[in-house]
């Protein structure tokens, strides 16, 4: 308990120290606004122009969450298909790794080609980026289920569906929730990338326009918004993960004796 408190205090001090150093360096070395604005100025810009920034933030959050939702749906579906048999898992895994190493920014132009500029490419890019961690984790969680746990069900002549619902999926839950933390940040990255390339709304677009106008404080205000949203989403899903899958941290060997 004391340890965590000290670590928390440490990280907060480090964050504050980072911004203080930034502020100090800008003043001490006379760095121009157009290169690197002071943190205080970024915050002032953020509040001054909040009415203009806000709709963009909402748009980005909206596209991210829809993409994330779709990513969860299809990710779990594909993950279950791949993870439910050892053969499918062993066969599909290399393909999966291959796909996930493609720089997914490259798909944005394709989506624009298909669906035109706007929200759709942003949502789809977010989905594509967040789907892989979900698929891989769900499939791994299912495929690594202890045979002993499945035997308990098989001895009761349970159907494959029963085994999946009562053993496979609960067993894969910790993996699934661990992937959500990663997936939500990935979805966020996807939205912003798509917005910078092909949208007239969203924080990504705001940053693009601000930078072409050399409005550097606004660029950084956009970044700050992204950071805050990203951290908030990460924290929310970490919290959910901790609540839902508490048992994993208590069982090292799954009580198999």
């Amino acid at each position: 308990m004391k340890g965590t408190l000290r670590r928390r205090a440490g990280s907060i001090a480090l964050i504050i120290g980072f911004f203080a150093f930034w502020q100090f360096a800008c003043a001490a070395f006379g760095i121009k606004d157009i290169v690197l604005p002071e943190p205080s100025q970024i915050i002032v810009t953020l509040f001054d122009r909040l009415p203009a920034i806000w709709p963009h933030a909402v748009q980005t959050l909206y596209a991210t969450l829809i993409g994330f939702g779709l990513g969860i749906f299809f990710g779990v579906l594909i993950g279950v298909l791949i993870g439910s048999s050892r053969l499918a898992y062993d066969t599909a895994y290399p393909l999966l790794v291959g796909f996930s190493t493609i720089p997914k920014v490259a798909v944005v132009p394709i989506f624009v080609l298909w669906f035109g500029a706007g929200t759709v490419p942003a949502v789809l890019t977010a989905m594509i980026l967040c789907i892989f961690p979900i698929v891989v984790n769900v499939a791994t969680g299912l495929a690594t289920t202890e045979p002993e746990l499945e035997d308990v069900m098989r001895a009761l002549k349970a159907s494959r569906l029963d085994i999946l619902l009562n053993v496979g999926l609960p067993r894969a839950m910790p993996y699934f929730f661990a992937s959500l933390k990663v997936a939500i940040t990935q979805a966020f990255v996807g939205t912003v990338i798509a917005e910078t390339v092909a949208s007239n709304r969203g924080i990504g677009n705001l940053i693009m326009i601000a930078s072409s106008n050399f409005d550097v404080p606004l660029v950084f205000a956009g970044l700050l918004i992204l950071a805050v949203l990203g951290v908030a989403l990460y924290v929310i899903f970490s919290f959910i993960e901790a609540r839902v899958t508490g048992w994993t941290r208590r069982t090292d060997e799954f009580a198999l004796g």
């Binding site: 746990l149 308990v152 001895a155 009761l156 009562n166 609960p170 009580a255 198999l256």
Partner: protein, 284 residues
């Protein structure tokens, strides 16, 4: 009162014409290619309905393998395994199994772990949604209390000792009133007193419902206390080399286990097993 499937009820009441469980020339080999282990070699075994059979033998002789074959968890390399006259999987028989390890699902508390068979096995599963909150729950609590786990049903597996988990695992094997009960060293991790107490619980259960039981155990006293018949197996490749009726009257008591007839039976079994063990595996 639950209603068992018709076919199963009928076969319960009629005198058994053929053995309830039958292994015919069963050979089982684990692994493949050059790295194989023949766990069972042309094993034959017949168990009548409602009988209580104990399997004893040196460790690694294939006792767990026999249980897994009868339950259908593995299928024999050759030979036939019949339950209620049919190939495994086709028979409408409720089976309960307590594994050598407790294998509780770690994300469920004891109550839900023990209730699992009621969620899966017909005819209970049809009523699971309606009854799980009251009737099934009371049933689980009552059974847990019977094995000394009253008040623990909200605990999770990681909060309990190995012995407690094993008792819960026994409850899980019994909760759906199986017609065929497979027990793989269910009392192995328990202390002497709890073990003897559970022998009594087990005996009463058997006397009241007369399921067909196959019990694997290392404890010869336990085998002689509980079983009607004791089959001795030889070491790899496993095979049944001796089949003893246990003549003592029921209900048996722990005191009876010190009587001369009882002691001489367990001694004879001990000698058989020592003789059946491969020499390098005999403990000093």
């Amino acid at each position: 009162m639950m209603h068992a499937p018709l076919a199963a009820t009928a076969s319960m009441d009629e005198p058994a014409l053929e053995p309830f469980v039958q292994l015919q020339d069963v050979t089982h080999t684990y692994g493949r290619l050059s790295r194989t282990v023949t766990a069972l070699d042309k094993t034959n075994l017949k168990i009548e309905q409602g009988n209580f059979v104990a399997l004893v033998g040196p460790s690694g002789c294939g006792k767990s393998t026999i249980l897994k074959l009868i339950t259908g968890l593995i299928s024999a390399s050759s030979g036939a395994v019949l339950v209620a006259g049919r190939e495994i999987g086709a028979e409408p028989v409720r089976v309960g199994m307590a594994f050598q390890n407790p294998t509780m699902l770690p994300w469920l508390n004891l109550r839900d772990n023990v209730m699992l068979p009621l969620k899966i096995v017909p005819p209970f599963r049809q009523e699971y949604r309606r009854k799980r909150k009251r009737e099934y729950r009371d049933r689980v609590e009552a059974l847990l209390a019977q094995v000394g786990l009253a008040g623990f049903s909200d605990k999770f597996p990681w909060q309990l000792s190995g012995g407690m988990l094993q008792r819960a695992s026994l409850c899980r094997a019994l909760i759906h009133e199986p017609q065929l009960l497979m027990l793989d060293e269910p009392f192995g991790a328990l202390d002497q007193f709890t073990r003897e107490e559970l022998w009594g619980v087990m005996q009463n259960l058997w006397l009241s419902r007369k399921p067909t039981v196959v019990l694997v155990t290392h404890d010869l006293k336990e085998a002689a206390y509980l079983a009607n018949r004791i089959c001795v197996m030889q070491a790899r490749p496993g095979r049944i080399i001796d089949d003893n009726e246990v003549p003592f009257p029921r209900p048996r008591t722990v005191a009876m286990t010190y009587e001369p007839g009882f002691v001489s039976l367990t001694q004879r079994l001990r000698e058989l097993i020592v003789a059946a063990s491969p020499s390098q595996e005999v403990a000093p």
